[in-house]
Amino acid sequence: MLEKLLTAQKRYYVWLLFLLCVITGCGLVYLQQLREGLTVTGMNRDVSWGLYISQFTYFVGVAASAVMLVLPAYFHHYKQFKRMIIFGEFMAVAAVIMCALFIVVDLGQPQRMLNVMLHPTPNSVMFYDMLVLIGYLGLNIVIGWTTLEAERLDTDPPKWVNPLIYISIIWAFSIHTVTAFLYAGIPGRHYWLTAIMAARFLSSAFCSGPSILLLLLLIVRRLTSFEPGGEAVKTLTTIIVYAMCVNVFFYLLEIFTVFYSQIPVHEEPILFLFAGHDGQLSWVSYWMWVAVGMAFLSLILLIPPQWRTNPTLLPVALVMLVAATWIDKGLGLLIGGFTPNMFETVTPYMPTGREIAVALGVYAVGALVLSLLWKIALSVKKDVNAFSD
């Protein structure tokens, strides 16, 4: 099926070339980081994880979200999802690759990373995180490729792939649960030490991932006239609304426990995120309030059915939802976990330009993988007349 990549419009190759240029440019910044060390980032002794690990966390969620298509399609035989399921699976592949890269760029000694396998350590959550992510990557590549091949040949997928699909559904929940356990089991990090962390991760993933998928499919529809299916879009939007409601609800549960108990160490990270320190708003506070605004605005636009089916309002609402969840998980989670620090003082963290450049490079790799895989899928769908109703 790889030959499908050879027959595309010129603008597709221009897009690939653009991504390659971004990857090269950002790759040079990464080389500089390799040479000078992680000193080029804004991380420090007290805030020892930053943008890289938070992006890793966010994209584990994006990867896991493919299950919101796979589960209805295979457990409930919801046929309308069948046409776009491959795009969810391939997006998961791109997202897991991004996760792996975000971990690699965060390592101080990346050439030693195989030590995690050479010295397997069952008491470390990171060991399991590596296992579940590699497994999930393999599952989605095998399932996606096999089912697409079957579609191309106009046959049913081979029987052996069905158990893999059922495993992948459970597996999707496991990857984000294990990622939450990286945080939720650490004594002394009060913002993270909460049993609802994994549930929050999953709910945030199940609204943000499908939103990103839907936004990308809307772009694809405009570019290629591929039609994801009106009914499918409607159902997926409903799933997004429920997941976002649950996500906001879970965050409010956290707020209640923290502020009704009035235990200072639990209050402080949230107060810092939203109100800053010593009467001074932190830069992240502005972002957090924007996230709050966008979260509620997106819900206002998505909950009434007549608005969420409106073709102009839907993308606007989805963009706001993605921005809100990204700020919560991609900025607030890490900064809140490390602020105040272990001495109950505040050490500021802000990603540096070079740190952001390296992260953009990883984004570009994800976009490249996604563009290649989706192009193959789109070509196959076009060939077998599964492009529109």
Binding site: E36, G37, L38, T39, T41, M43, N44, R45, D46, S48, W49, I103, D106, L107, G108, Q109, P110, R112, M113, N115, V116, L118, H119, T121, N123, S124, V125, M126, F127, M130, L182, I186, P187, G188, R189, V265, G337, F338, N341, M342, F343, E344, T345, T347
Partner: protein
Amino acid sequence: MNKSRRSFLKTAGISAFALSSGIAEPANEAYAKLAPGRYTRGETALTAKRWAMVVLTREFKTPQDYEPLIKACHSAHNVPDIAGRQNIKWLWLDAYAHVFPDDMNSHLDEYTRAASYPLLCNHCSNPPCVRVCPTQATYKMEDGIVAMDYHRCIGCRFCMAGCPYGARSFNFMDPRPHLANPAPNPTFPTRMSGVVEKCTFCAERLAVGRFPACVEASDGRLLFGDLENPSSDVRKALANNYSIRRKPSIGTQPGVYYII
């Protein structure tokens, strides 16, 4: 072909010479000691079931009283002097409110509040850093010391997120340009960029029969001994004084005690 044969013979010849002349002896010895199951302590080594430290804080009148201890530690372990927040600290000072935030009250006596307290790795009995490390680069020794293998560490910094005491430092940059040249202590390894490090309770000194550098420099104001031995200095001091530890509620069981 010819060249590789020649270089093989050369290497073989040098190896044979080294083995027969005893040059390779130290290397063989190091290997024997590190090999699993064949490790034996040297005859002069200080041993304990569980090493612990007691800080007699009232014996230190000013922050300057701690300076020789910090200097001894940092030069014994080639700890670089790096400005800013990407610095390396093995032994350092902070105020009561930051060292014992759980114990703080607004009416604490002025002396206790204003004093400086030394901070270092607590060598916990139940160390979260060891629990989270994905490569066992940080591990607990049988005598209670939480040790680090700088050559196995991948620099993921999970241990820094895990440590509730902020005891760990990451080499954000190559530390060697920030050391005196030659390095203060040629018998202790310098580190490279991208690995985590921290206080080792001077395991390398205990192995040759010497107390930790800070203890030696403290004129008896830091006590160091076996917590499992009722007649040790640390046990006697703890039996006769009121002592506290940092963040006791999270169950890590620190091995550093403070007599306030």
